[in-house]
């Protein structure tokens, strides 16, 4: 009874919001977003009056052929620094909450990993790592980037965890990688302040739109993010797959 009341209440609230949006003349209808009224039109044309052509335009305001990447790591790079910080602090928090016990051991799995699983997971490990690296490196050209790329690298580690119930990644190295990659992101930002005038300014040449070696600092930042995310999420997985050793 209580549940039914809650259901009717929340769905009613939803319908109310829907009607409010429907009656809102300024709110663009679904499928008919007017980009000319939005700041996005600037991101698509990269602030230039001439059309940007893939493989031809040299040194536009922002380099990546993937417009979403040019927003994420160039126009709104500060948000991404915050995003990296969120992941950093929650990984830190997870290790604080779960990893505080002095002696820790691997959580044993209910099944014994058999020969096939072991071999197959080794083979897959390389393929997943390669995909992760590819996605990270091509973040400014194709969909993807440091966040999914880094998570793919971490999921390759996850595969090793599942295939071998004694396996534990060496946390020390990950910690250093995490700290150094994060610091380098901020240092690159401060370098922009020193070399140019602005924090996180893209101080390297943008190159030709669509080239692998283009868009200045963006691929570098995405590689740092990939390394950082990969090591952080591996750390989180390790924390979730260990338990306090009980005598």
């Amino acid at each position: 009874m209580k549940k039914l009341l809650g259901f009717i209440l929340t769905i009613g609230l939803g319908l109310l919001i829907i009607f409010a949006l429907e009656g809102n003349a300024l709110f663009d209808d679904f499928g008919y977003a007017n980009l000319d009224d939005r700041v996005s039109s600037h991101y698509i044309t990269k602030g230039s009056d001439v059309d940007i052509i893939f493989g031809e335009t040299v040194d536009p305001e922002s380099g990546p052929a993937n417009i979403v990447t040019s927003i994420v790591v160039d126009y709104r790079s500060f948000d991404t620094l915050g995003e990296v910080t969120v992941l950093f602090i929650s990984a830190l928090g997870v290790s604080l909450l779960l990893g505080s016990a002095v002696t820790q051991k691997r959580l044993s799995l209910d099944f014994k990993p058999n020969f096939m699983l072991r071999v197959a997971s080794r083979a897959l490990f390389g393929i997943i790592i390669m995909t992760g690296v590819y996605v990270t490196l091509h973040g400014h050209l194709t969909p993807g980037g440091g966040f999914p790329g880094g998570t793919m690298i971490a999921s390759a580690m996850l595969l090793l965890y599942l295939a071998d119930d004694q396996f534990r990644a060496k946390i020390k190295g990950f910690k250093i990688l995490e700290g150094v990659a994060g610091s380098l992101y901020v240092v690159i930002g401060l370098l922009g302040l020193v070399v140019g005038t602005y924090f996180l300014q893209n101080f390297l040449p943008n190159g030709t739109v669509g080239d692998l070696l283009s868009s200045g600092i963006i691929p570098i930042i995405y590689i740092l993010i990939g390394l950082k995310v990969g090591s952080e999420i591996s750390g989180v997985i390790d924390n979730f797959l260990t338990e306090e050793e009980k005598q």
Binding site: K3, N66, V68, T69, L107, S108, L109, V135, P143, G144, G145, F147, P148, T151, M152, A154, S155, L158, I233, V236, I237, F240, L241, E243
Partner: protein, 83 residues
């Protein structure tokens, strides 16, 4: 109505039904699997709405990693329960 509209209607219906199942299911592991299904369907929605970047990220992070973390939590709780 174009094809894309029909796809969206089916998708919306599926999303709502499975989401409701996820929040009202009593068994925890089933609830988590339904959540994973909702996440996978949202990936389809992102692809339909021409957002490949988001779809890739949601597939890897939202659907893959989050489900794994949920399952690990349930696994370790089950272990402790057995003790």
């Amino acid at each position: 109505m174009t094809t894309i509209d029909y796809i969206m209607i089916v998708l919306s219906a599926l999303l709502l039904v499975i989401a409701f199942l996820a929040v009202s299911e009593k068994k925890l592991i089933k609830s988590v699997i339904f959540l994973s299904a909702v996440s996978m369907l949202s990936v389809v929605a992102f692809v339909v709405m021409k957002a490949p970047d988001v779809a890739l990220t949601e597939a890897v992070i939202g659907s893959g990693l989050v489900t794994a973390l949920f399952v690990f939590t349930l696994l370790s709780i089950k272990k402790e329960e057995a003790k």
